[in-house]
Amino acid sequence: MLCARRLAGTRNALNGQIGLPGIALGVVSFLLASANLMGSDAPEPPVRIPSNVAWTAETIAKAYSGNALRGLLVARRCDRCHGREGFSSNPRVPNLANMDRLVVWKQLDDFRSGKRSSDVMQSIASSLSLQDTADIAAYYWIMPIAWDPADDRAFPQPLSDPRLEAVAVRLITAGDGSRGLPPCQACHGSVGWVSGAPSLATQNATYLLEQIEAFASGQRRNDINMRMRSIAAQLTGEERRALAESYGAGLSPISSPQK
């Protein structure tokens, strides 16, 4: 409105000096301004974008272009939390050994863009270049998952309740059709893989449970097409615990994407 009033003022001033062309100019600019105002008045829902990463051929090629030898040097800054060979001693920190390169690439990119929040990881990820990201991904991808007596890893942890295993095995292998819950193994291996879906076979239980809870509450929302948010929100408390602890106990078959 202010804008329109100011324009009306200029119109009057012009009217005194130039006459008809001034009026015409004023009317045109008034119309333009009102059209602009109407445009901005229309309610526009905020566009929510879960992640800036899309699995286009270029992105996949970039994520696969890492040099594991260079990654060996770059990844030394990750040792403190993620372990020298990608197995963490802290069960709240994810294991990265043998993790698919697309997973590491996407999560680092999401930390960098703020699509996934973490006090520690956001600042570290923003210090990494795209080449560093690909190199780190390549390094962790070639790390073996074989048990090593020398290192100090939290994985595997025994189940807190043996009855949880049956609940988890059913969800991992068959899912639950009545709620539209797909089997975990259809995307997270070993039966099927979806681009960007991490292997869960050697993941820490505490970390997994925290992530399932975060997806369910909507606190973490960097899953493309709301896959994990839709699933996690429908899992009961017992099922969340069962899945996290069963994967954390190493009960699912170990394999990695054939890529």
Binding site: P45, P46, V47, R48, I49, P50, S51, N52, A54, W55, T56, A174, G175, D176, G177, S178, G180, L181, P182, P183, Q185, A186, C187, V191, G192, V194, I224, N225, M226, R227, R229, S230, I231, A233, Q234
Partner: protein
């Protein structure tokens, strides 16, 4: 006797071919013209059968714009961004329901639609072909990666419908089920935007 017959047939085959008379040449030309006419007629029939469809789809394409989308970047831009999914009321009459089918979920996983108004369903796939079918209605919508598939529906009375995937799409296919809930228009309008978008999360 046999030898004689053999020689006879041999002599027949070795006879020099006679020059074709004018009559046979004429009949050949006539035959060609006739087959040409038949071909032209067939083409005419095909065109007249197809023409209405072609014109209709052409007009539809002109009105709706190109229905191509990039399945990999649905979440980044365009009408299928996360915040645009679900049922929205249109300024005119009716509602638009936008959905993504991906391995192995429909997004949103539970959709709400009002009864008694035309519903424009726009669906696409993020990976492979899926086919949500609305049980007890005979409606099946094929979601094809790279294309927006549009269907028009209308529900007469409220109800809850199962909406499973009826096209094999991978190891998680058998649990790929979603729900469609039809509520009265009044009830639909009373709901919040969030609740209209995804009833699985309410």
């Amino acid at each position: 006797m046999g030898d004689l017959m053999f020689r006879d047939t041999l002599s027949q085959t070795t006879q020099p071919a006679r020059e074709p008379s004018d009559e046979t040449a004429n009949s050949k030309i006539r035959k060609r013209i006739r087959s040409g006419l038949v071909a032209v007629m067939l083409i005419c029939v095909w065109v007249s059968v197809r023409l209405p469809y072609e014109v209709e789809s052409g007009i539809e394409a002109l009105l709706n714009g190109p229905n191509r989308v990039d399945p990999q970047t649905l979440h980044l831009r365009g009408e299928f961004v996360e915040s645009n999914l679900g049922t929205v009321e249109e300024p005119g009459d009716g509602v638009t329901l936008r959905m993504i089918a991906d391995q192995y979920l429909f997004v949103p996983q539970c959709v709400l639609v009002p009864t008694g108004v035309p519903i424009r369903v726009r669906i696409t796939s993020a990976d492979v072909v899926h086919k949500p079918s609305i049980k007890e209605t005979g409606v099946e919508i094929k979601a094809v990666p790279g294309y927006v598939v549009e269907t028009h529906l209308q529900f007469a009375r409220p109800g809850e419908y199962e909406m499973p995937c009826h096209e094999f799409c991978g190891p998680g296919h058998y649990t790929m089920r979603s729900k469609l809930i039809a509520v009265s228009l009044q009830e639909f309008r009373n709901l919040s935007q969030e609740a209209r978008t995804n009833c699985a999360l309410r």
